[in-house]
């Protein structure tokens, strides 16, 4: 439809002097007397607009867009820097945790070794004491045994002396008795 009308109007423009649209007035577009005025005002308005765009609007727009791009680039750089820093911190943290756990394990091992040593020492001391006490008591027993043996011998000698004094006139020497007994 629009295409058809466009064709109609194009043909009309070409054949304008023969047909005419409105009682011979013709197309206003073909009125040559209006041309100077249109051209004059077109040059003025378009010129002003061109100057405005060229001198004011376009430089401002270009600056704004470039500033934005610069800002975005800067922000991206900063974000990347911060990201790498954060990654570095994370790595350091992990390393610290690893070394700390290693240290803790070592401390635990050392403590274990120390405790074992202490236990061994105490055991050894205790064993030493026990064996000392054992030998001391053995000695004491032996001494007592010997003492009591002497006492028994003395008592034997005494009793033999007494008995022999009853039966014999001469009193017996202690040494002799001992010889006889043994």
């Amino acid at each position: 439809m629009t295409f058809f009308w466009k064709i109609v109007f194009l043909v009309s423009i070409i054949l304008w002097p023969q047909i005419g649209f409105t009682e011979g007035d013709g197309l206003p577009q073909m009125d040559i007397t209006t041309f100077p005025s249109q051209l004059f005002w077109l040059i003025i308005t378009f010129g002003i607009l061109y100057l405005f765009m060229w001198r004011t609007a376009i430089p401002k727009l270009r600056n704004t867009i470039e500033e934005r791009q610069d800002k975005i680039l800067l922000d991206i750089n900063e974000a990347e820097k911060l990201k790498s820093e954060a990654e570095e911190t994370l790595r350091e943290y992990e390393e610290k945790i690893q070394s700390a756990s290693k240290e803790a394990g070592e401390i635990i091992n050392q403590a274990k070794i120390k405790a074992d040593e202490m236990i061994d020492n105490i055991k050894k001391k205790q064993d030493l004491k026990l064996s000392q006490m054992l030998s001391e008591s053995k000695d004491r027993i032996i001494k007592q045994y010997e003492d009591s043996k002497d006492q028994i011998e003395n008592a034997k000698i005494e009793s033999i002396k007494l008995i022999s004094a009853k039966f014999l006139t001469e009193s017996l020497d202690d040494e002799d008795i001992r010889k006889e007994i043994n």
Binding site: K6, F21, Q29, S37, Q38, W41, L49, M53, W54
Partner: protein, 249 residues
């Protein structure tokens, strides 16, 4: 005018009539301030207002108006970069102003009771002629007389030259004509159709709802065409500029 005699007669051309608002003359030349001039001024003020609004508070995160300005800037910058390359940077202000001016003229012309500046052949031809002369000058300045080689493409046999060269010259010379007529005819036809459909609505009374639906559809199409024709005008300017800067491609 016909509409004054017969009120029901559809006169789709009346909307393009130019009426004087103030008589101004320099010597014998009539440069009166007309409704056309009025809408040129309105278009210029509207664009400047939009950009002043968008650029008043320039921030990293743009508001709506700043977004409009930046989107249109990027749109034309990408267009120029894709069609001309980095050399096109110098011509960006002109191409950008051209696009904004034509686009706003087309759009403002779609508002009822307004005037479409770009529906007049002299306006579009002034743009096309300026572009044609500018591109030709740029071509000769950048390439010297080697620019003339454009009319005789490489690889064409010598015996074809008498045919090819006139054809190339004619196609080069008709560029401004096709460029200006395309924009003007689209605006003229589109607005006339809208007017005709609007007239049908009044004539058909209650059943006018049927052409009303058509009118809504055509109006939407015309909004699209308003953008499309400004875009086509701009992209063709870029292509001609590219031909002038890199004639051997």
């Amino acid at each position: 005018m016909a509409s004054a005699k017969e009120p029901n007669l559809i006169d789709p051309i009346h909307q393009f009539a130019i009426s004087k608002l103030a008589d101004i003359k320099i010597g014998n030349i009539d440069i009166s301030f007309t409704n056309s001039s009025q809408f040129m001024v309105i278009t210029t003020i509207a664009i400047m207002f939009l950009f002043m609004l968008g650029l008043s508070k320039r921030s990293i995160i743009p508001n709506r108006f700043q977004m409009i300005c930046e989107l249109s800037y990027n749109f034309i910058a990408n267009l120029l970069r894709a069609n001309v390359g980095e050399q096109g940077r110098d011509y960006f202000p002109f191409v950008f102003t051209l696009f904004m001016f034509i686009f706003f003229c087309n759009l403002i012309g779609l508002i009822p009771y307004t005037f479409t500046v770009t529906s007049h052949i002299i306006v579009t031809f002034a743009f096309a002629g300026l572009i044609f002369i500018g591109v030709t000058l740029i071509g000769f300045v950048k390439n010297g007389l080697g620019y003339l080689r454009m009319f005789y493409p490489k690889g064409v046999p010598v015996y074809m030259a008498p045919i090819i060269i006139p054809i190339e010259i004619i196609s080069y010379l008709t560029k401004p004509v096709s460029l200006s007529v395309r924009l003007m005819a689209n605006m003229l036809a589109g607005h006339s159709i809208i007017k005709i459909f609007a007239g049908f609505i009044v004539m058909m009374g209650f059943f006018g709802i049927i052409p009303l639906a058509g009118l809504v559809a055509i109006y939407a199409l015309e909004v699209f065409i308003a953008f499309l024709q400004a875009y086509i005008f701009t992209i063709l300017t870029c292509i001609y500029l590219n031909d002038a800067l890199h004639p051997h491609h």
